[in-house]
Amino acid sequence: MHELPITKSIYQMVLKHAKRGNAERVISVNLEIGALSDLQDEWLQRYFDYLSRGTIADGAKLIIDRVPVAFQCNHCQQSFEVYSLLKDDLSCTQCGSREVTLVSGREYQVKNLEVQ
């Protein structure tokens, strides 16, 4: 739904760094996006293709690394990943406590670019 403004932000960042690095062409963009985000990979790519047409980033592939949702237990400090929040059974895998803190899953980062 809101992929366009976010892709625009990615696109501007890519162009800035590619130009600064004297790149002639951007081959791929590595992104790190937390699994809590509802961004759709397909739409990010489509909007990126649209925005980058005719620029040095034209044809670049977005490679999206989804960072799993992970929590840390407030009691025993155990860290654990959660693959589905829909199951409603979120509790510490070691001691069973439901007092936990979200430690990853909200990442939103451009990691690096592959350029020529």
């Binding site: 739904m1 403004p5 976010i6 932000s9 992104l31 829909l86 936990v100 979200l102 592959e114």
Partner: protein
């Protein structure tokens, strides 16, 4: 063929927005104006909660409202009818308010003559969660007819808000809605969340919400946030 190189970036995708949001918060703190970002589904009661909140707090604080809507002015007309200064942001198809939009809205308000601004975000539980508006505190409003599974389906927004209002508790006997379950589902995602079950229609539970808000606004104005 020229060799392939790697350029390291490690930069937040929305860092520009984040930077601008921080600037807005700084400005609000200098002017001692508290801004609340209210998010929730269409029909959850965002505008009703705003109208109720105004009626409780208008004697204590100078209030203005920023209404974001994709393309209508219905909500801002209701607020303006109470004699409250209102700024309309038409997001023009955008599904959330970003810092640039709220900065623009704030420019048209006399900050020096205000204590409290309520920003009504665009109605949905997905997009507003990803974008910092520059607000001091964030509240999600969820209503009983929507169901108690929303924290499971849209977890991100619940991880980011400071308080959760459950509206339409007068509907409770007509719906399969377990208040305790919602509280637990939200708490597990965000242990700091404040929880306010209420009904904008009957005013039941409103005092706690108003007391929380009053406390947040006054400590912000005293520079304790």
């Amino acid at each position: 063929m020229e060799e392939i190189r790697l350029i390291d970036i490690k930069e937040e995708i929305l860092s520009d927005n984040k930077g601008l949001a921080e600037k807005i918060r700084e400005k609000l703190s200098q002017e001692k104006v508290f801004m609340l970002n209210l998010m929730g589904s269409p029909g959850s009661g965002k505008t009703s909660l705003i109208l109720k909140t105004i009626s409780y707090l208008r004697d204590r604080y100078r209030i203005a409202v920023v209404e974001a809507d994709i393309d209508s002015v219905v909500d801002s007309e209701k607020v303006a009818a109470m004699g409250i200064q209102t700024v309309q942001i038409r997001t023009g198809g955008f599904c959330h308010v970003d810092a640039a939009m709220s900065e623009k809205a704030l420019e048209s308000l006399p900050l020096g003559q205000l204590d409290f601004i309520i920003l009504e975000n665009v109605g949905n539980l997905i997009c507003p969660a990803e974008t910092d508006t520059g607000a001091v505190k964030n509240t999600v409003i969820l209503s009983v007819p929507e169901g108690d599974d929303k924290p499971l389906k849209y977890p991100l927004i619940f991880t980011l808000c400071d308080s959760l209002v459950i509206n339409k508790i007068d509907y409770m006997d007509k719906a399969d809605f377990d208040l305790e379950r919602v509280r637990e589902r939200a708490k597990v995602l965000n242990s700091n969340i404040e929880f306010f079950p209420l009904s904008c229609k009957t005013s039941q539970g409103l005092e706690d919400w108003i007391a929380w808000l009053d406390q947040e606004i006054s400590s912000f104005q005293r520079g304790r946030l």
